[in-house]
Amino acid sequence: MATIQLDHLRKAYPTKSGSGALQVLDDFSLTVQDREFVCLLGPSGCGKSTTLDVLAGLTKPDAGTVTVGGSAGWSGLTCGYVFQRPRLLNWRTVRQNLEFALAGKGAPRKSWLGKTDEYLRLVGLADFADAYPLSLSGGMQQRVSLARALVIEPDVLLMDEPFSSLDELTARRLRVELLDIVSTQKTTVLFVTHNALEAAFLADRICVVSQRPAKVVEEFDVPVGRPRAPEDPALVAIQAQVLTMLEPDDASPGDPRERELAMP
């Protein structure tokens, strides 16, 4: 059971001058149920990526606890992470990059060829299995990164704005594929985005995060059955609702980071 529980997380980074500290997380709590798809939606720079890093065990919180599947840490559960930038090993082919993750998970070597083929086909890169990352476009590299996270068939999938660097058509197709995979594999997903429509289309629940220090200020359930159509009026209504929620009434007006949210 891959339930995620973040309790009272605190994290501060030293500021540029070295004197003060930038409080990124201050008493941040969030629960994601098993097999739930949760979108963290908020302005850039509000601490969403830090939340994912803390959850993945890459950043140590100053205070608070991370519980996955009932016990502290990642006891036996696997984690797939699609980073904001692809983070590929440029000296290994696309297929070898996927195998890197398979080896880390300890998957039997015999299964590698079939698995890599399957997931590369899924992200539309079947013809590029033996290409080197630097010969691919940025969007293609990001899709390799997505395939790498999926190929290990993780219990929990963390995604940090994975589709923001893709063209809208590709992103649309991949969103549908993603929903398909996570529902068949019963994956728990925590998905970071600043695109409200994307969140409405994907999520079971949308958590709107405030400006620094990050805090969940509002939650929206998305009671729309699957498969969903991207233009479903119910989804657009939810998007509008979320955006009104984010309308800057007390925040500084005209902040470009806020405006960014309005553009799907």
């Binding site: 000296w91 880390g104 476009s137």
Partner: protein, 273 residues
Amino acid sequence: MTTTVESRTPAAAAASNRRRRDAGGIWVRAMAAVSVLLAWWLTSLAFTGVVPSPLVTLERLWHIVRYEAFVSSVAVTLGRVGAGMAITVLVAVIVGIAMGRNRIVELFLDTFVLIGRTIPGLVWALVAVMVVGLNNSAPVVAVFLTATPLVVLQIWEAAKAESRDLFDMAKVFEVGRAGRLRHILLPSLVPSIVAGTKLGLTLAWQVVVLAELFGLGSGVGYQIHENFSNFDIAGVLAWTLSFALIMAFIEYGVIGRVQARLVRWRPATELKS
């Protein structure tokens, strides 16, 4: 998308480039080669008895290959170059990684790397011959002292480059420490290791020849010295030219090929130098 990939295939682009460049230029280049030979020949006419003509030099080279210890001398010198470079690269990889990953080691050693780079191989060759003596280790020591700062510099810079993002990624995918070293740190250093070796090699063979020149009893440098003492200019020319050609072949033909293979993951534009 296919076209993007195709246009970036390094080998194909380079080959088509070369073809295009060579098609018109071959006659001009042939003319250039003939002019060089002609200039050489005219010089030899002007300084008869001092400068040997191209033909005389070629005859001398044939004689050397045929009757003098050409193969064994070249083998001896190459052996010294190889031994020196092997030790150099081994030490440089360890020191370079240590300097790149540890700030204290870096601060402790950077001065010596920078100073060491400016000391000419000539001085090291003399020092090695005087301290180590006239034996096989002298040229090896000379190569080590000359080339190490240079190769370290290359690896140090590469090891310094931030690879934290990749290490974090490996951690998430549960790749262990050994795997991270083997699959992330070392491969990211390979281009600079090969480039450093190539650079060091150019220096190494000249330092070995110098050390041999200063008193060793074997090797190409010794042969050059013999011919120099007998005032046999054709001999000096034949030995230096032939050995320079052999080294150029090793550098560009052998190492260049290894380099192209090891860093084939880089797009063509970055491969140039």
